[in-house]
Amino acid sequence: MSEHHGFSPLLFVRRAGLGVFLVGFGLFVLVPLLSDFRLTDDILSEMAANNEIYQHHQEIVIGELQALKDKTYPHQFAFLTDVKRELTESNERLDSGSQIWEYDFGQYQYRLVRAASLGPVSSNPTLWFFLTVGLSMLGGLLYALPRIWLEPGGIKNNGVFQSSVKSRGWLGIGVGVFLIGFYIALYFYPAVIADWIRLGDPISELMRGTLSDQWFFYGMLYTAAVLTMGVRMAVNYRHSRYQLVRTASVSFFQLGFAFLIPALMVLINKPELGYDLKNSWPLDYSAFFDYRIDGYEKHGVFGMVMLFWTIALSTLVVPALAFFFGKRWYCSWVCGCGGLAETLGDPYRHLSDKSRTAWRVERYVIHGVLVFAVVMTGIVVWDLFTESAVSVAGFQAWQVRSWYGFAIGSIFAGVVGTGFYPLMGNRVWCRFGCPLAAILGLVQKFKSRFRITTNGGQCISCGNCSTYCEQGIDVRWYAQRGQNIIRSSCVGCGICSQVCPRGVLRLENGPTEDRYNEVSLVQIGKGRIDIA
């Protein structure tokens, strides 16, 4: 920044933006702690009327819950302790055939907390949406935008390695712990964050005429993060049209395909088809689960077209485009996980492990997950077709399916994949876990027109490319030998090319014949001598 003396309005806006963000984020953190909880007859009868407690449970469950009635709890943890006790006692009284299943057990807790909440958020969710999500977004934008006028465009990774939040200092660890906690609550204890979920009500009602649930709330935050941090990304790389186009693309696909279209499906009364149309199996591991198939069937031709699209996307579209453009067209242009990684995760890209050991682990783990995904889907589909409750090695389809959902879908993709951004970089899931990335990687490695071309002998081995590779590829290893970089894990974000100070790297699609240049030529002597 060139302003060293006197008052700079732009610097002031930037600082104010940081302040506004911190206020918004601070209020967001406080939201789950602000409410009292109180269960009343009105609430219970409304829940019964809305079938939020299922008919066959109502008599006993509501009977048990009478014990909690009209008591005021200062926070949801005390309330939940009592709710759990009553639900457990209900189960002891219910016949073994009609007990509350584990999933519904959690949903009942969530619905009761949500309904019993008495506090600022429940009385004015719109205001609190603006105070939390709104202020955070506004602050982020005010912080990011002044850079356009404060300094010339270009690579400005100044101080990244001294930054506590970006380089695993206390702030970074703190952000990691918060994100991990957020995902654990979201996936496994939504009752604890019922007041957060309510923040989604105003937009959910506007978009689809229903109240928010945990997944709508998550999608809303996710989209807000991609859009806000997408603006930051665009500001940071405003000198690069490749990065501008790519950032616009991930923002568009997140907003349109992941957020708006599913809501539209609910609005036109096809909630069973409210899926993200760009999400391809096996990343979308539930694509062929029974409830999804039922949904396709229920909506006739429309449903069949969508089933056809789901199959065509995974088997034709994804591999064909990967042949032409590499896996980047999906992973860093379209995919939601990639979209978050390339925006919210951009400040953490240098934290990926570049060691050879990490590469070895990566190959075992990601292909292991792919095998798991294929086997799991195979069993589930077989089960669906034969309706025979198949068991493989004594395990039934629903068991294998729920293990996958827990271990891969929730823990790996969510808790580790995003929670570990500030600890292990922004592509932990994409690099080590995503089975779709594994398939795309195989295409990219063996049959694709994509490569990163190394520009002759211009490399000075500085290491910026390797350092800022979010996938932990040691780009320099190839560049300094004059070799093209063809790695299955490369998502084609193009940042290596941007940070290179000598113009050495270019992402290219081209004929497959000369893709692997065995040796590049740097002329020394009358003949050419290969550098290797």
Binding site: V160, T453, C462
Partner: protein, 452 residues
Amino acid sequence: MRQIVILGNGVAGITAARHLRKRCDDEILVISGESDHFFSRTALMYIYMGHMAYENTKPYEDHFWKENRIRLLRTWIQAIDTAQRQLLDADGRQIPYDVLILATGSKPNKFGWPGQDLDGVQGLYSLQDLENMERYTRGIERGVVVGGGLIGIEMSEMMHSRDIPVSFLVREKSWMERVFPAEESEMINQEIRDNGIDLRLGTELDRIEGDEHGRAKAAVTKDGSTIPCQFLGLTVGVSPNIEFVRSSGVECDRGILVDDSLETSVPGVYAIGDCAQIRDPLPGRRPVEPLWYTGRMMGETVARVLTGEDLSYDPGTWFNSAKFFDLEWQVYGKVPSQPDEGEGTLVWKDPGGKKLIRLNYLDEGERPVIGYQVMGIRYRHDVCQEWLDARKPLRYVLENLGVVNFDPEFYRQHEADLVEVYNRQFPGESLKLKRKRGLRNLFRLRRSERAA
């Protein structure tokens, strides 16, 4: 089995070690006093700026050396005993060798300015220099950089990245005007100023004033102005780092004199990289070329010579590159500050002043192109070299110039603009750019013919 000792673990020494290991089974020992492992000297600035940590500048992981049986020794060598074929280190240790490769690099120049040895006055070459710069620039109010070279601009950028105001004193009337044509030089001046640096052209340092603790406190210029500052970067070039070699009986001039197989006056002793001086340089080349690329090529050449190849050092077509703040520069072939007699130049500069393309050619016959220079644009090394070798005519080059463009996808291409300049410069010509990158090529499956 020979004991090959390489003195210096920079790019020249390490490239020699790696290529020796590929080609022979001899013992290889690399000695350095500076660092335990090879790191990229060109990346020192990025450590200071916080773009990378020291670990990130190491091109090979630490296990690489053991796996490839390249022994590393950290010590400062003080003398070479060529008669006994051994080295003596600072602790009096004797290290025998059969073959010695000297790759001791450079040291920053100092030209006898009063105050040049004060604390907070230094060049930037080694890891130790970086540590000193880190210490002496902490919390300062202003830094001064003296000398119009690449390191000068780097030191300015380094301090600027930490919001330290910088005054940059350059003796010439325009930055590096003896290397760059006026347009390029002016672009770089502008880039330096756009980044808020107090660039003072045509300004020479007279002396440095110190405080009572022996710490620099001001730079005084020859025109009599005093610039209060707490740190001075002296970046007026480098010289071969060969003090202890001079006294060992190895023949030296500015650098260690070597023949075209990089052997010194003492059989079995070789010199490569910044410290070597070629006795009979090839036409158009300087005897001492302190560059990353030449160090790397010399390292490979000496490894081939030592493993029995009959080879003489030839760095081939000139190329270089750099980045000045946000402005990238690449050159292939011959592009001097002024075209020589019988040469012509064709240049396009964008009105925003951040991009430039220049072609130099021989002004005879079909006007073969002899040099490509770009700023703010990237060009392909292999195609430029192919076309230079084939002496492609100016018209051919212009019509096909799109093929050379190496900028990232979606970037604006300016080759057609240069063709327009040509058509204006040569009345009666109406060339058209035939080949550019773009959507047309997106789905092409077969390799195109690159150089017809």
